[in-house]
């Protein structure tokens, strides 16, 4: 099958455009947080994981230290390791492809791949989404960083409010049941209690410890992933029906997702 006839490649391309576009908000918020243009680009080019990038600049914007920013970003990136495992089982990349696949292993490329019915389609979806997002995300990050630089006082434009909205939008699609909602509330409260007691940036790490302890001692009621936030935070609105419930590839159950 040629690439442009592949349903998975089409899904991957539409996800790449939609996700890449919001790189503009990352670029603008990153320079507003005090990062310079090339530091912003380094995060998009080298770190390349939306949640971790927003976490890094979110800690810096709040006056946190570089090491706190790095820690928050690293902890938020752990799920990518789990995605890597699922994708390795599903796609079995070899040689240099394995190292390239690792770099573009993010929520959206994982969701595109695991939503397909057969391995060939999963491969096409993964690479089109992963590489497509990488290209668009970096272009739009640069555009956003230029806009942010030109804007002057970020507060006047409400850019600090935009950051709040971005984090809530990243969290929202993961709240799919009682346990994730309870974890979110507990961690929010823990954060508020910790803010006056420890230096900026550290409350986020305190909340991370709380979340990890809850996860360790209160396993999911069923062994499925549907309720514990390990569903990739793929654009939950337009693409959900396509990639999670069969879609044009005529697939049944998503593959490669482990129990």
């Amino acid at each position: 099958m040629r690439l442009r006839d592949s349903p998975a490649a089409k899904i991957g391309a539409s996800i790449a455009i939609a996700t890449g576009l919001y790189g503009v908000s990352f670029g603008a918020l990153s320079v507003a947080s005090g990062m310079d243009f090339w530091q912003t680009m380094a995060l998009s080019l080298l770190l390349f994981s939306g949640g971790s990038q927003f976490a890094f600049i979110g800690v810096i914007a709040g006056g946190g230290s570089g090491v706190a920013a790095m820690s928050a970003s690293a902890l938020l990136g752990i799920r990518n390791g789990v995605y890597g495992m699922q994708l390795n089982a599903l796609l079995r990349p070899t040689g240099w492809r394995r190292f390239a696949a690792a770099h573009v292993t993010i929520d959206e490329s994982t969701a595109t791949a695991t939503g397909q019915g057969d391995t060939a389609e999963a491969k096409r979806g993964f690479w089109v989404a992963g590489l497509g997002i990488f290209v668009f995300w970096n272009i739009m990050t640069a555009v956003g960083a230029f806009i942010g630089d030109a804007m002057g006082d970020p507060k006047q434009w409400g850019l600090d409010g935009a950051a709040v909205a971005a984090f809530l939008a990243l969290l929202w699609p993961r709240i799919k049941g009682f346990q994730p909602a309870a974890i979110a509330v507990v961690c929010a409260v823990v954060t508020l209690l910790a803010v006056p007691l420890v230096p900026p940036g550290i409350p986020i790490l305190v909340a991370a410890v709380a979340a990890a302890l809850i996860g360790w001692f209160r396993p999911a009621p069923d062994q499925g992933h549907d309720n514990d936030g390990m569903e990739p935070d793929l654009d939950p609105y337009q693409h959900d029906a396509v990639t999670r419930h069969g879609g044009p590839a005529g697939s049944g159950e998503p593959r490669g997702r482990q129990a």
Binding site: L46, G51, V164, A212
Partner: protein, 103 residues
């Protein structure tokens, strides 16, 4: 500036985390409890980052225009607005409240 060190270290850790999933035999990491913790960690961190960016100012908890951004974003998400619209709603709410004189 030494923020560069942390940017590059964060990037290296992010890549190695992804790569680890491909290199470590599945059996080693295929512990349901581990992936559950990865999931709860993601939710907890995003909830915490939301709250810090909405209500923390240094080491003080404050109520300012950013709370308006939080409410506006929640309303936009409730109505299934796309990511960029949610972000713009947050920015507009914070900027608007400041025009009205809220800090």
């Amino acid at each position: 500036m030494n923020l560069w060190i942390w940017v590059l270290l964060a990037a290296a850790i992010a890549y190695l985390t992804k790569l680890l999933g491909y290199l470590v035999p599945a059996k080693v990491l295929a512990n349901p409890r581990m992936s559950h913790v990865a999931g709860t960690l993601t939710i907890g961190l995003l909830a915490s980052l939301t709250v810090v960016n909405a209500a923390a100012s240094g080491t003080a908890v404050v109520l300012d225009a950013r709370i308006g951004a939080l409410v506006a974003a929640a309303i936009a998400l409730w109505f299934k607005a796309p990511f960029l619209v949610v972000v713009l709603a947050g920015a507009a709410a914070a900027a608007g409240l400041r025009l009205l004189g809220w800090p």
